[in-house]
């Protein structure tokens, strides 16, 4: 959960990027890292295998600026998407403030998206969270590829609650900052309600 530090006047929030293997979670973070000014970001950490698949998590600390005299810091994490890393995924969700679900728009990944979303709900429940009550946005990634399902189709299936949804192409960066902004907004609004 968020960490409010009155001593250093900082708010820290944790955002987790979730989704099936190779959907572009790490690519989202890499784009944010590459496009963020030096003074606003920390080091990006990727705990990955030799073939660049996420093994445990990627981590990117971001300082967004001040709100009411408090520095807002967002800690972005990705989970490993591959099915058999489930134990690690559960750990990353601990203390999460907001979730981005990165869906792979390609037709052949349709089922993988559903499976991953179900897995997200189960794992959140295990940590005592309810996805329905958590700041949550969905990004339909890889919109530039030829074999993609329509956004309408994806939305009907993955987003019955109609949380904010965005189209993206994480490789070129399209939709990446919009997604981050959408989830950050929900997280800060949550803080506001709690206040």
């Amino acid at each position: 959960m968020s960490f409010i530090n009155y001593a250093s006047r900082e708010i820290n929030c944790k955002i987790v990027y979730y989704g099936p293997g190779l959907c572009g979670k790490t690519t989202n973070l890499q784009f944010i890292y590459n496009k963020t000014a030096e003074e606003s970001k920390g080091k990006m950490i990727s705990l990955a295998t030799e073939t660049e698949r996420t093994l445990f998590f990627d981590f990117l600390p971001l300082a967004l600026g001040e709100i009411r005299g408090f520095k807002t810091r967002f800690h972005l994490y990705t989970v490993p998407g591959q099915v058999f890393y489930d134990a690690s995924r559960k750990l990353i969700l601990k203390g999460v403030d907001g979730v981005v679900f990165v869906a792979d728009s390609q037709e052949e990944r349709f089922d993988a998206n559903i499976e991953s979303l179900e897995n997200l709900k189960d794992n959140l429940e295990e940590q005592g969270f309810d996805l329905e009550k958590l700041p949550f946005v969905i990004q339909y990634n890889k919109r530039d590829l030829p074999n993609v399902s329509s956004v309408e189709e994806l939305s009907n299936l993955l987003n019955p609650r109609k949380v904010p949804e965005l189209e993206g192409c994480a490789m070129s960066g399209e939709g990446v900052f919009e997604t981050l902004k959408a989830v950050a907004k929900l997280v800060l609004n949550d803080l506001k309600k709690a206040g």
Partner: protein, 165 residues
Amino acid sequence: MLGPQSSLVMYDEEYQRILLLLERLLRESNSKVIFLVDKNGQLIAATGETANLDTTSLASLTAGNIAATGGLAKLIGEKEFSILFHEGEKDNIHISIIGGRVILVVIFDQRSSLGLVRLRVKKASNELAVVFEDLVSKTEQQAVSSSAPSPFAEITDDDIDNLFN
């Protein structure tokens, strides 16, 4: 004890008490760096030779480490492993859990020893646990008293939009 779901709130008074305890532990254990991390990976406080250290990354990786070993512990029927020790060629890291939620990390070299660090950490842990207990009750009190509204109650959409400009 701090529950796993509760937001951590730090106030100036408790922060100063924590810093004093950490500075004393640093002296008494002859260590190089000490920091406190929330189990979610947020850095709470640090003292010692932190100038050339990426404390944010250290905090996140420490929490990941504790989470992973906690997962291992559960698999073999343990509640958690409350102490971890990593031995390097020059520097060593001693990690322990305080009050179920906060992680104390001590980095030391040959000027100290594992035995000394363990001994001093044990004493400091009890004192730190008391501060965190106080912090929890203070947070609960603040939550019910309307005299101290949270500064975030007043956040506007414009405030949030401005962050991204």
